[in-house]
């Protein structure tokens, strides 16, 4: 009897603690959800809105991480080519698979899709990036949940719990940060209506360190090619772009970049240019080795527009 009482007491305590933790997790999600919309990642909501508006038109869509967000000027691309454009690039911490799933319903025959995966993506799996992925699904593109494999969603469940708890903490920390930080770059309002990062136009560049990519296997490529095929079957013209990288990082990553290029060419992927073409001097970058400065972003876009035009003569 005494043992039974202890068991009931013990189990009650465990349940109570679990409920308290769960409450804080839910509270974290609720508090952060509205706050998340003001962050840089929140700009995905605007990008999706523009994509939705262009759904029935023939359009150009750029997909990638922050190198796309900073480096592609889709507004400029639209002016150069006359094709309505949208920059869906955001953050390489979120998996490429989720970005692709989120745009799929809005793509149709006649569209042009530019895929610019960051180098880091090639080393990872299609759905890597758990914390960011959970936030992406919960806060920025909840419709994507429907198109995400069930097993992937199951894998995210524990992360959803920890992300909720962490976001409870972030909510307070970010509020403090917002009050005292001078850094206004990474906010939703930093992008224009096309989804291009524009806030850094008149900002001085920050210090950054090199990134070196030297992996030999590319588990990402199989999924990438599968996805390209799906879009091509829909009648979408797909181009693969290599992201910008500063020259000193590129020199150390060249072997890896060229191996990726060779593999994609061998598999007949429509690659618009060789990786070395988007390697630029350090002073052409803003705050990392792959975030182009505003003016260089325009030049980079110009190069893409030219190569695209010559390919479609």
């Amino acid at each position: 009897m005494k043992n039974n009482n202890s068991a009931v007491k013990f189990v009650s305590k465990i349940i109570l603690i679990s409920v308290i933790v769960l409450v804080f997790c839910v509270l974290g999600h609720v508090l952060y959800k509205s706050y998340a919309k003001t962050t840089n990642n929140g700009s995905y909501i605007d990008k999706m809105r523009r994509l939705e508006e262009l759904a029935s038109e023939d359009k150009a869509v750029f997909v990638g991480g922050s190198a796309t967000h900073f480096g592609i000027h889709s507004k400029y691309f639209e002016e150069q080519t006359g094709i309505p454009s949208v920059n869906m690039g955001l953050n390489a911490g979120t998996s490429f698979g989720l970005y692709i799933n989120s745009i799929k319903p809005y793509m149709k025959s006649g569209d042009v899709l530019f895929l610019m995966p960051e180098y880091g993506y090639y080393e990872e799996g299609w759905y890597n990036g758990t914390d960011n992925n959970v936030e992406f699904l919960l806060y920025y593109s909840p419709e994507t949940i429907k198109r995400t494999p069930v097993m992937t969603l199951v894998k995210y469940l524990p992360t959803a719990l920890t992300v909720g708890l962490k976001n409870f903490g972030f909510y307070f920390q970010d509020n403090i940060r917002k009050r005292i930080s001078k850094n206004k770059v990474y906010l939703r309002s930093s992008s224009n209506e096309y989804g291009d990062m524009v806030i850094h136009e008149n900002l001085p560049p920050a210090e950054f360190v090199n990134s070196v990519y030297d992996f030999e296997k590319f588990p990402f490529v199989d999924e990438l090619e599968k996805s390209i095929k799906e879009f091509e079957d829909m009648g979408v013209k797909v181009y693969l772009l290599f992201p910008p990288l500063n020259k000193s990082s590129f020199e150390q990553s060249e072997k890896c970049a060229n191996s990726i290029y060779e593999r994609l060419c061998k598999d007949n992927v429509n690659v618009l240019y060789e990786p070395g073409v988007s390697a630029y001097d350090d002073d052409k970058f803003f705050d990392t080795v792959y975030h182009l400065s505003f003016s260089q972003g325009e030049e980079f876009t110009d190069m893409i527009a030219e190569k695209f035009a010559s390919d479609n003569k």
Binding site: F10, T159, T162, I176
Partner: protein, 464 residues
């Protein structure tokens, strides 16, 4: 798989449930299987080393019980230590000889810990202090018990084997106590150590841009970081074991309240210090062989202890600094003197605290060049801006505030525990329910909401 990862906690919950409801005769099988599974999450080839060492020391233990040949036993010990030597020290020694050759790229998880535990068992059997274990499952569990395998404590056969041989049902009080220790450990590791580590890393990454005050403070903060990290791990490991009805060795007893270096080494990493005392210092002759020889013995022990932590000159120097001060204390009879009187105690504490923390610089440094350069920068930093520019940003300031809070909590907890001669869980259990609940909710939520528990965060001692 870290103790604070979701996958570990989920597997642990299932395991402890099974251990609780299954007949007691299955307990050891379950725990052994869990140990193997836990170890398999790392490199599978490393599991082979653990299994091989387990089989070898199991059979040689039985032989050593009957055959007392010194030469044979020495050979057995040499073979037992050989995987540790090959994986951890061979490349380093080749490097010292000018040969740049990496024998093995990665170190098997916890190899220094389970090798020492196995060697301790063999020596105890040889000396006749414990009987050789005949049941290979029991012996296998003794070596592979998962809460201890990552970073100890190094449990003696005397403590662990009887508990394995006579398994008992876990009581709810043991469960509760274990979970409280785990929460305490989680707070230390995931909140305190991680916040402090962020601040320390910032300074150690740019010593040439940092003021003397911040450079010196970072060394002292590293002392806290490593204490939280290792004590946090130990609390979680002992908590896990408690939930499975097994008591493990103590590893910490408020080391930063020590009033001498001698005292410090009786309170810091107790299971390793005990191992060295029992199996190296005493066999060398201990302190009963003349003052000079005793001093040499002590220096040998601390040099080996330093190298045990890592194959690098920095660890050797760290060990020797501690050894030299210990020898001096012994010669000056400092340990007994520092215990008497409040003023003596205070100055004893201050001196110990400064020496212990200054020595951590070598423990933290990647190489000797860095350690020397860092020490020189402390002198040069007097001309630099007091608060480094890279600190004037929100995240470092938040982490600094968390660290200050963690330091205050730790000082309070350590002094309170020392005064009450009890541990935190017991002290809190005696408080009113509201206080009890509040303390544990805070202890749990601070790390969960503000801590670092991603893949980047690992235990410092799991590298050894």
């Amino acid at each position: 798989m870290a103790f604070y990862s979701f996958s570990f906690l989920a597997l642990f919950a299932v395991l402890s449930l099974f251990v609780g409801i299954m007949p007691i005769k299955f307990k050891n099988v379950l725990l052994f299987a869990a140990g193997i599974l836990f170890y398999s999450f790392g490199d599978l080839s490393h599991l082979f080393i653990l299994v091989l060492l387990c089989i070898f020391t199991y059979f040689t233990g039985i032989i050593a019980e009957k055959n007392k040949s010194k030469a044979l036993f020495a050979l057995v010990l040499v073979v037992s230590f050989s995987p540790l030597f090959l994986y951890k020290y061979l490349s380093w020694l080749l490097g010292l000889a000018g040969i740049d050759f990496t024998v093995f790229r990665s170190l098997p998880l916890g190899i220094s810990f389970f090798t020492f535990q196995a060697a301790g068992y063999l020596i105890d059997v040889y000396r006749g202090k414990v009987k050789a274990e005949r049941n290979i499952l029991h012996y296998g569990l003794f070596l592979s018990f998962f809460p201890q395998i990552t970073a100890g404590p190094i449990n003696s056969a005397e403590l662990l084997l009887p508990q394995i041989k006579n398994p008992k049902k876990v009581t709810f009080a043991e469960y509760e106590n274990g979970l409280k220790n785990m929460a305490h450990g989680l707070f230390y590791k995931v909140f305190c150590s991680a916040s402090c580590g962020y601040v320390v890393d910032l300074v150690f990454n740019s010593p040439e841009k940092t003021s003397s005050l911040f450079l010196a403070a970072a060394v002292f903060l590293y002392g806290f970081q490593i204490y939280w990290d290792f004590n946090g791990y130990t609390l979680m490991a002992r908590g896990c074991a408690s939930c499975l009805g097994i008591e493990m060795a103590e590893n910490f007893n408020h080391p930063y309240l020590s009033t001498s270096i001698t005292d410090f080494w009786r309170r810091w990493h107790i299971s390793l210090s005990t191992w060295f005392r029992k199996y190296l210092y005493f066999p060398l002759g201990g302190s009963r062989c003349g003052a000079f020889r005793a001093s040499v013995n002590m220096l040998i022990v601390f040099a080996v202890s330093g190298i045990w932590h890592g194959a690098d000159m920095t660890f050797l120097i760290w060990g020797l600094i501690n050894g030299v001060f210990l020898v001096l204390e012994k010669r000056l009879n400092f340990y007994d003197n520092a215990k008497n009187g409040k003023v003596r105690k205070f100055f004893g504490w201050l001196y110990t605290y400064i020496v212990v923390n200054a020595a951590w610089l070598f423990f933290r440094a990647d190489n000797m060049g860095f350690a020397v350069n860092y020490a020189l920068e402390i002198g040069k930093g007097i001309k630099r801006a007091l608060i480094p520019s890279y600190f004037i940003s929100t995240t470092p300031l938040i982490k600094l505030a968390f660290t200050a809070f963690a330091v205050a909590c730790t000082i309070f907890i350590d002094i309170y525990e020392e005064k009450k001669k009890s541990n935190f869980a017991e002290i809190i259990s005696a408080k009113k329910p509201l206080v009890r609940w509040l303390v544990y909710i805070i202890l749990l939520l601070l790390p969960l909401c503000f801590g670092e528990y991603g893949s980047s965060s690992t235990f410092i001692y799991s590298r050894f």
